[in-house]
Subunit: 343 residues, 4 copies
Amino acid sequence: MNFSSDNASGAAPEILEAIRAANNGTARAYGEDVWTARLEKEMARVFACDVWVYPVLTGTAANALALAAVVPQYGAIFCHEGAHIATEECGAPEFFTGGARLVTLASRDGKLSPGQIERALAQFEKGSVHHAQPAAVSITQASDFGTCYRPEEIGAISSLAHSHGMKLHMDGARLANAIAFLGCTPAEATWRTGVDVLSYGATKNGAMGAEAIVFFNEEHARDFGYRRKKAGQLASKMRYVSVQLVCAFEEDRWLRWANHANALARQLAMRLATVEGVEIAWPVEANAVFAFLTDALIDRLHARGVSFYEWNAGSDGRRLVRLMTSFATPEDDIKRLIEAASG
Amino acid sequence: MNFSSDNASGAAPEILEAIRAANNGTARAYGEDVWTARLEKEMARVFACDVWVYPVLTGTAANALALAAVVPQYGAIFCHEGAHIATEECGAPEFFTGGARLVTLASRDGKLSPGQIERALAQFEKGSVHHAQPAAVSITQASDFGTCYRPEEIGAISSLAHSHGMKLHMDGARLANAIAFLGCTPAEATWRTGVDVLSYGATKNGAMGAEAIVFFNEEHARDFGYRRKKAGQLASKMRYVSVQLVCAFEEDRWLRWANHANALARQLAMRLATVEGVEIAWPVEANAVFAFLTDALIDRLHARGVSFYEWNAGSDGRRLVRLMTSFATPEDDIKRLIEAASG
Amino acid sequence: MNFSSDNASGAAPEILEAIRAANNGTARAYGEDVWTARLEKEMARVFACDVWVYPVLTGTAANALALAAVVPQYGAIFCHEGAHIATEECGAPEFFTGGARLVTLASRDGKLSPGQIERALAQFEKGSVHHAQPAAVSITQASDFGTCYRPEEIGAISSLAHSHGMKLHMDGARLANAIAFLGCTPAEATWRTGVDVLSYGATKNGAMGAEAIVFFNEEHARDFGYRRKKAGQLASKMRYVSVQLVCAFEEDRWLRWANHANALARQLAMRLATVEGVEIAWPVEANAVFAFLTDALIDRLHARGVSFYEWNAGSDGRRLVRLMTSFATPEDDIKRLIEAASG
Amino acid sequence: MNFSSDNASGAAPEILEAIRAANNGTARAYGEDVWTARLEKEMARVFACDVWVYPVLTGTAANALALAAVVPQYGAIFCHEGAHIATEECGAPEFFTGGARLVTLASRDGKLSPGQIERALAQFEKGSVHHAQPAAVSITQASDFGTCYRPEEIGAISSLAHSHGMKLHMDGARLANAIAFLGCTPAEATWRTGVDVLSYGATKNGAMGAEAIVFFNEEHARDFGYRRKKAGQLASKMRYVSVQLVCAFEEDRWLRWANHANALARQLAMRLATVEGVEIAWPVEANAVFAFLTDALIDRLHARGVSFYEWNAGSDGRRLVRLMTSFATPEDDIKRLIEAASG
């Protein structure tokens, strides 16, 4: 049983089938193929607006290049201290921006609030050449702690960001899970509430490897094609990347897959909460369950072959752990995990 | 009929089947999976030596990161003026090295010679902080003009490079085609003749999208894992990249596919040479046919739906064109192209 | 009366005289002059060891290039949250290192302790390519809060740093003030207690504009000449930079100047402490006096033409302010400031 | 006798006196002083237009940062193959631009022509993300070969550049010498003929070390203050840099000094031309004499203590050498050099 991460799962059969279908004869390389053209149309439909879409190959590149498109080298980027860009990308945003600085803010649930961004901004002297200049806020939806920003929360952050001349970036590696939970439209979750640039990730939700940088404003995309190429992120046989994204958006598969993962996470949390010595850390909104477990329970689960991450030590000698579900998690795994946990 | 580039072709059925087979349950992410481990073993077998293998996602990244691993920011890289790194990568090597300089050298057949490198070196004042310092020679095998370095030619270049403290990088986007033509071992084509770091490309030869940076010396690979991650080139579901490479090397498929492409290019050249107004520009060694065609012939081919690239104007009002074959080019396309050319 | 910063002062007459004396006929450019050679000898004498000295032109460049010499692009640098590199250099360290990350740590007195560095290190997963890798500790001597590390404190930090494979960098923009206070030898303040690379600043202490990056280990300096040049920090008429540094070190002028500044700061603190409503924030060790003042007192001082920086709000409605002295502060200014403060 | 370079000379007495006069009491740091304000006014007067002036500390920084202000990371910069940015700056432009590419063009006299730029442009596929995009032309005035662009030549180049969406940068390390030769106004030599950004150098012409980046368009300067700071080029005691520039421009000293250097170069060329075995390579316009000398004559001059640079081998077994004069070259040195040359 593997609850370590949603990227431990494979690819959905529909994705493989879409790739197989795209593997038909020759096609123009470097994104001038019909699948890539279809992707932009499909995303315009899904997001109900004009979009400028640039498929790339990893989530790290999606985040770092999206930020580099809207943040100057002397900029500061405000994000949660647990954000993927701050903790898991080996400083890629700093590299691709030419040395911008991440300003990390703490909160229990993995989400930023306008108040804390405002307090952090107060430390910056705008217009002083000695200091990095506030340039962007980056939020993660669903957050790295499995929680989701409500549209009005995004709107409040974007209002603040824009009033200070900053852009709002969304790391949407798990945007599908967030939208599935919120039940809002993709538009409400992004540009209608002020998101300027989105890193959309399909990889954790059914794809083999496909990410897209989505601009909601043509100006931001103006010279992005050169930047993507120079960054080594322009796939030659792009059709195989684009078709994964097309497949995920068509027939709302991305939301169905996310719904499956979310549902299993909720189920897991509910049943785990009944096991002695377990405390669910915070409400489960997307596909991650954070829980405090006793050392004995952790050892027992590992012994029974359950993979998951230990986060850090909590109160009462218990440890915080993360259990993730995905589009491919078998329902039976929940039952088996609870059995293992219950001894 | 598409003779525009070998990356216009799709993926080999064996590659799709290997991906399908790898899509089985969960796997550790970020290259800690069994397919990636198998890849290093497989390449050690193929190259008959220890290798340090880092799969990446595009040829541009493979070249730029390989060079950045062995060239300091103040370094100079000697390459052919028609090399992919000089003409087709939007300055990615300069970006990833932190500002190293490409020194481009001309030759009719796309290959560098020790003599011209030596003459170029004479312009550099070694040890002077005012000048970029010679740091690497980068050769392309097969070259961008479809010609192949003989092992002894590589040896002569590497001897010169090493005697000046420079590393030898090989852009092996079409290494399979070169080895298939030369009939030498992969070892003879690379480390035995002094190649320090290889960018191996499977994408143009049967894969969907899979490249690998191969170090033949552990020292060069020492901190490369961090560099790849920071560059946004560490795939999370790496198994799908690695398995493509494994599939290509297993059962010598890479050479069989390359042989097919080479054979068709030779056949195409032989038959095209008999068409009035055609002059084959130089001997066809790999899978590219460079030929001088009259404008009338070019127009006729385009009118018949043949895609290919026009290179530049030649003598006698003819133009140089490039016709490429791939592992997937149908034999029948050669016949049809010749029929179209013959009027 | 200007107590805003020690860089508000001009240059010492001896510095101007040394420049005048160096302005004699022609000299080899780019540091191949006799003054630059003399500087290395003079600093070897002062530090009682072999040194590799690279004059540069600003303190920001001295810090950023020194760090870039010992920190890889994927490195993490631990420093105080009030360190000049973190707060006053617009992200220059991130730029010159190619994207390394500053990890800022808080303390009341502006100094780092081994314990807090160790706790911060515990958050880093060494050997994981996803995370920036601990590469250097940077300490500021005297600190930005005017306090001084004792040699044994430096030794404890360097032991910890070295045991984790990190280098110890010292921002010595006010090293003279620290050594004048400590009464130790320059060697004890630096390499004998484990400093690997020093950014030495003469500008704040008598010079017009002269900084030096000092390596205590030849290996770190190996290719530094190229890096300095590429960074635009190799002065063509270097003699005018080097001679300022030579002049400062000769006859121990640097320490005499620093002693003057320190003595006046102590005197200022002692007398200011007797003014009603004033609380000296922490012991004055170098040439900065941090004190809590009432708003009324701050207003009065400004009204009397006293310049100084307001830091931040303290307890009891008082504000923290910084008053700096320099080698050139007239003794009379202390008396006049106290008179102004006393109403 | 030192004819090696104009930066072998010291500083003019007026410069030293201006520095001494500025060394009076305290001043605001980082360019907020009265001398820096006066500099912008003085340069507006000299150039007869609004200017945005940023003093920096080296010519390499002046060029690299000026280019980085107007060239994106994916840009191409067209310059002469002998340009300082191409041959003497260790790749600083590539570093500060984030990896832009220099495209070097050859000509006998060190100057670019619109025709050759146009031919070079024809090699670039505009709008293709695979290729660096033409972004700037950089010309050197006076050129590295001692020749001067006429205003109409600059106008022709800027027209071409602007019609292709490129900016025109002028490396004015010896602009004073060019204007002194041309007898035109500074405006005619720069913005009136289409120069967008100027790197003005005072160091080679009387100053100790003072350069300025001059924008003729506010838009280009918009965020340049941050870039200068982040690049480590914002001097803390800026008054000493600015006052050198002010001094040079006041009372037209820059042109008087340049006139002296130019006059001596012309005199040197005229008299040297009469020495047996000497051929002046091209007309002397600024302060450099390029001449073909026999090996015997070169040896004799070196033996008599004359310093100069040997460029490269010419025809008839003679070698090309460069002899430079400066504002400080004693008239007597010309006589003595001719005596030495004449045996």
